[in-house]
Symmetry: C2
Subunit: 405 residues, 2 copies
């Protein structure tokens, strides 16, 4: 029985799965392409400043691990990841957050993005209801979308997700999971308050909702104090994500899943083996060696200090150059600021204007699960120096004024 097929060489769309047909092409990819012009000051990407890459120290570690471990750094390895690295991560949680996790509770992933894909794989049936912040992290929206859930987006307020609306949603729907970025959220830069964390935990426990806490940014706090996690160790169905991408290097694609839920761990291992067998083992040895031979805390302090300066520069510039009607969030850490344009103004239209002024950002659209015009946008401050930030925001302010006319 012949498959029905189009004959055009490059467009046999009939072979493509339904899950892909329902996926929007990546908006941000297209945006990053148009911002490649070297004249353009880009606040669009989410790139860490290269100061966070300890090049010389990593070079030392590379040479050391080849000497010390030989063939092992190049051979196939275990799906769970390099055990000493998993131990190191568990110990850090013990020290920083007093969590009683150990190496067995950690699985190394190919970046946190793979963690998202794996959680989608092991949890989401087509049509399952998934709560996410509105606006929410676009990488999570993309990863989960391929498992065809029904998204229920819950507004994010200054101190965290809207609990009243969430409770109503949990009451009226069988919700499988809530995905959240509790610290210096992507895209808004907002952080959940201690009180909201506690109430959210109690709420999720009551409804047996799975919680994914994605935390790549907590180390980038401008002030030292870090808040306890929402569900880690408290909720049965709770998963915590971590990553080295923002504090050492994103290029090696190393993150991890931390959970004490044995069923989730078991399923994640099966799904990960089917996805890429294991994460790059050379890189796992490399990062482990770097961590035991260097002072990570000191390294992170330098990144924090720089990002605080850059965030301050951007905040100051928005005060100076943005029309009064534009609201911005005030970051206390992380990599992003979120701006709200006057009602009715389209950030997609502004984007076109801004490109003419040689400045770029990410229009809010990909951070929402619904289609439609939005008046919000994300600004990244970590990959431009203070002078570029001032100049870029000046140009953007000009574009906003021209848009308003």
């Amino acid at each position: 029985m012949k498959r029905e097929a189009t004959t055009n060489y490059s467009e046999d769309y009939s072979i493509i799965s339904d899950r892909m047909r329902n996926t929007k092409p990546s908006f941000i990819r297209e945006i990053l392409k148009v911002t490649e012009n070297p004249e353009t000051i880009s606040f669009a990407g989410g790139l860490p400043n290269p100061i966070s890459f300890p090049k010389e120290e990593l070079k030392e570690s590379m040479n050391r691990i080849v000497e010390q471990y030989g063939d092992k750094v190049f051979q196939y390895s275990t799906t769970e990841g390099f055990r000493p690295l998993r131990e190191w991560i568990a110990n850090r949680y013990k020290e920083q957050y007093h969590l009683s996790v150990d190496a067995d509770d950690i699985i190394i992933t190919t970046g946190s993005q793979q963690g998202l894909d794996l959680m989608g794989k092991i949890l989401i049936n087509k049509g399952d209801k998934v709560c996410i912040e509105k606006p929410g992290y676009l990488g999570a929206i993309q990863a989960f979308s391929l498992y065809e859930p029904e998204f229920l987006a819950i507004p994010l307020l200054e101190d965290g997700i809207d609990l009243e609306l969430l409770e109503e949603t949990l009451e009226n729907n069988e919700v499988k999971l809530l995905y959240t970025v509790p610290n210096f959220q992507n895209p808004t830069g907002l952080t959940y308050s201690k009180e909201k964390r506690e109430k959210l935990c109690a709420l999720l426990e009551r409804y047996h909702t799975v919680l994914i806490e994605d935390d790549p940014y907590s180390d980038l706090a401008f002030e030292q104090e870090s808040l306890p996690y929402i569900g880690a160790e408290k909720l049965v169905n709770s998963v915590l994500f971590g990553s080295i991408s923002k504090i050492i290097t994103p290029g090696l694609r190393l993150g991890w899943i931390c959970t004490k839920n044995a069923e989730i761990l078991k399923q994640v291992i099966v799904a990960k083996q089917a996805s890429d067998l294991h994460s790059n083992i050379f890189s796992q040895y490399l990062i482990y060696d770097y961590l035991i031979h260097n002072d990570l805390g000191k390294h992170i302090d330098a990144i924090r200090k720089l990002y605080k300066q850059q965030s301050d520069a951007m905040l100051l510039a928005t005060e100076k150059y943005f029309p009064k009607e534009v609201k911005v969030t005030i970051p206390k850490g992380g990599m992003f600021m979120w701006a709200e344009l006057p009602k009715g103004m389209s950030s997609a239209v502004l984007f076109e204007m801004a490109l003419k002024e040689n400045v770029a950002f990410v229009p809010g659209n990909p951070f929402y699960t619904e289609e439609g015009e939005v008046n919000t946008l994300r600004l990244n401050y970590t990959n431009s120096d203070a002078t570029m930030i001032e100049e870029g925001i000046k140009r953007l302010g000009r574009a906003i004024s021209r848009c308003a006319i």
Copy 2:
């Protein structure tokens, strides 16, 4: 509305997706665990001999790329992969196989295993019919299983897949895709003849069936001649996989997808971005630098020569120690030999016997899409020296004899 949930801390199976419930736990994982005993001679894994890891050359390249490219080797990068590496791969296909592919037709993946996951994601709807060799590569069975196809396994004969049965199957079913390892197949070591390749190509074209040719082993031919690919450049819906795992290092998890089908390329990029953003960029620079500064052909010749010796040693040992009734394939390249025990003998039972003799292999079971006892098994010869091979096959011969009583 509360989700129904079990209350046991570690066993809340109710949250797990259907696709995982239908997936068998990884058989081979369990096997590899029991073979960790240092007294055991293991022919179970599929590990390359460490001779294939050019450690010193890679160390030189590491230092060079950090010097030469600086921050770029540690920063986020593009989903498609490092362009010069993609060009290098395309050029090699041009030179070796006269394929007219270029860098745009290559997407770097996190090992070929990720290629399998991505193809499953973009092609397979639940219930879609997928043809695979019987026995077939277990990594493909695992990866595709998560997209819930109906497998139609077609026997693999000495010279390739059974064409008559395949044609009958294509005629009676709407088959979405055929997955094949045409050179030194995993698990059997068998290679498709030139004639069979041509006929298969014509057949698949007639039925518009998507073809995945997975080719990690062609460089490991004991004799030089390599046969043309089955569908690459000939079939519209054709995808070719390649990998550095067997010729440089598997630990860096680098493979690639090669296709001239623009729709497949587009979808793979969207799916890959959702899966891990991009593959480890440091490793892509590293391998590119290694490739342009070293003679890969010479390096591969040394691996071939060694594997030929090891394969010969295993063949000789099976002649000496296996009962006459046991049939084995005669490898002309690759990493595996396939053995067929007398009818009625169970390779799972033999496995238990063999462990007592301190020798291990992979029973045939995970290479079949159906459950049930089998009398076949896979033997790997690349990761043991000739002496160990002789001793291991001697032990295995003893176990077979005891099994037959």
